[in-house]
Symmetry: C2
Subunit: 415 residues, 2 copies
Amino acid sequence: MPDGGFAYSHLFAKHLPPPAPRWTGFPKHNFIGGHNDPARIPAAALAEAATAVLRRRGADLALYNFDGPQGYLGLRQLVVDKVAQRPAIKCTTDDVLITSGSGQAIDLVNGLLLEHGDTVILEEFTYGGALTKLKRLGVNVIGAPLDDEGLTIDGLARIIEDLGRKEIRPKYVYTIPTVQNPTGSILPRERREALLALTRKHGVPVFEDECYADLTWDGSGPPSLYAMDPQQVIHIGSFSKTLAPSLRLGYAVAVPEVLSRLVACKREADSGTGALDQMVVAEYFSQNFDDHVGGLTQTLHEKLDTMVEAVEREFGTAIEKMWYPKGGIFLWLKLPDRVDVTKLVAPAAKAGVAFNPGPEWSCNAGETKSHLRLCFALPSKDVIRQGVAEFARVCFEETGIPERSANIRRAVSSN
Amino acid sequence: MPDGGFAYSHLFAKHLPPPAPRWTGFPKHNFIGGHNDPARIPAAALAEAATAVLRRRGADLALYNFDGPQGYLGLRQLVVDKVAQRPAIKCTTDDVLITSGSGQAIDLVNGLLLEHGDTVILEEFTYGGALTKLKRLGVNVIGAPLDDEGLTIDGLARIIEDLGRKEIRPKYVYTIPTVQNPTGSILPRERREALLALTRKHGVPVFEDECYADLTWDGSGPPSLYAMDPQQVIHIGSFSKTLAPSLRLGYAVAVPEVLSRLVACKREADSGTGALDQMVVAEYFSQNFDDHVGGLTQTLHEKLDTMVEAVEREFGTAIEKMWYPKGGIFLWLKLPDRVDVTKLVAPAAKAGVAFNPGPEWSCNAGETKSHLRLCFALPSKDVIRQGVAEFARVCFEETGIPERSANIRRAVSSN
């Protein structure tokens, strides 16, 4: 053994994730994750923004958290101005905490409220990252039913009441009310009111994730839950989807009782969020938010249409259900029950196609083996068309479904 | 109660930190933390770097971790080139993980190796942040003795052997061999060899933190421990001290067996480190590292001399020991035993003076109540002089020490 044969394996902590394999690049037809449209990154304008803000505040980079532990004041002001629009939230920069992506905001809220063995309610189909984090914390997750408009209040009420009979009070209801992930629905205003009344009655906080809410096709939507009742709602959002996910920027908005705790938890977690990312996004978006998001949304809507056409052409009647989203970057689909998409991951990857299998985006993994999520923000329209065709080919070869593509009957290939 | 009287306090998790108070700005004479010199932030050059790199790679911001989960390739290459110099580490970009500050690197290494109840060995005086993290993890910390050249090998051997008799094997020895925090010593080469031989014999990994190692007054120093034995050492570093702490950038260098695990742990912890911070630092430092660090070090050395003069003038013989650092940004001092610096924190703060009390930077808090750390990178020379004079005044008013300042006997003031 080299170097004295020093060995680590017996020193490692228990319950580690497996070692990361060497990274070999992105798949050719990449329909996973929250990537954005590269053509919509305003590189020149970001460079101008960087130049302007560095001229003004560059020397401040010498200090940790130079505007305090809640983050760069300019970005907090941008959040205040932004959430005053559609979500109709009235708040000040004191009510905002900048986080390293909304993922960190989820970690902080979980750290604030959850202990091992606690119970939380999520939407039956939901953000896979939230599920992964809860699993690691040893928290029980219950999925509340969705329909085409989002969370059903009857279904949620039944769950809360059932839990109550077992003397379990859920620690929160996590919801993505505007452009639900993965179904793309928008919860109507009346349901929002009913949701707040129900959870208030049972003393359950609402954890509202509005990561995609700026990307609705018509730019409108009901006010956020936080706008309707700040006291019982913790609101989070992100700049990953409106601008660029590699700039790790999210935020939380909450009443002082909650925010002061989240700030304290963040101070334990890190020494602040990267300043240049914050400064440049604030500088650019304070001038360009509406224009940028308007243009991006139009591009995304066109890409969605391309993807829907491709899916319909390639899968035809094999699509049992397609949730046509009201905004965002993804399409949620159901294939026939006898297609187990988890068995398609490897052969699809071999063909250069990556997708999110339903079980990873669902509270009831066993019941969503024929669901899948396809993200359309990153790939070009050509890549979308080719990738969906490739995926249909792989799916047919593995399962015999879809039998027809582009209205032509498929046959099993000879190889 | 407003808004239906929704109350959180009974929902909060146990063991939370206390709520963060509202931030009211930095103290006037700020001698705490790892802040840097604002006059040394190259704002215009960073703007040029941002413009150049955004022109070349801006579209890639649309992807999470666009160069893979180990971080921006340009920054990993910069680390490879940088550590090939003084620390003499031979590695490739595959061996480097970019982290959100070296604080995250510490979290990842702790997550990799430590369980509640484990034992680790640190230097008796050490980085306060490392101590805080270990306390939260419920890990036992043992302080190994330091002399003016750093860790003493005899002292460390005794500790490892004592533990061995109790059948305890420490999970790592955490050391800051080059510009030790807070004493500023540089561990000589022979001691490095002895340290590696000792720990190898007992199967204990070495966790080497080189956050300040680029900031030695003469720019030289022995090779890093990792350079001398990569297999048994995990090496971390930072760009906070060489450039700017609000750009949250650190790195870990380790052999594949370890690095692949750290990468996996980072993927669980976040979705990458802020890309613009990474890109701009790589772009700027790939052209300017030696010049920038040379100029910064000269400034820091001058500020140290200003601080040493001020401390000698204001405290005179009341300084029992001053560790004159061989680089870095801080001065570690000992006042007479009957001065308890923890009781000076509040009155000093009232006078606009902030400092790190010894117990926060020590494995044996009870034995370092008369020690303190003063950072000199952020304040101007005038602020250093005024702040040290203010601090001496507060110290005298609270403890009667120092009796003489600027060779003039002090009298208790009438107010």
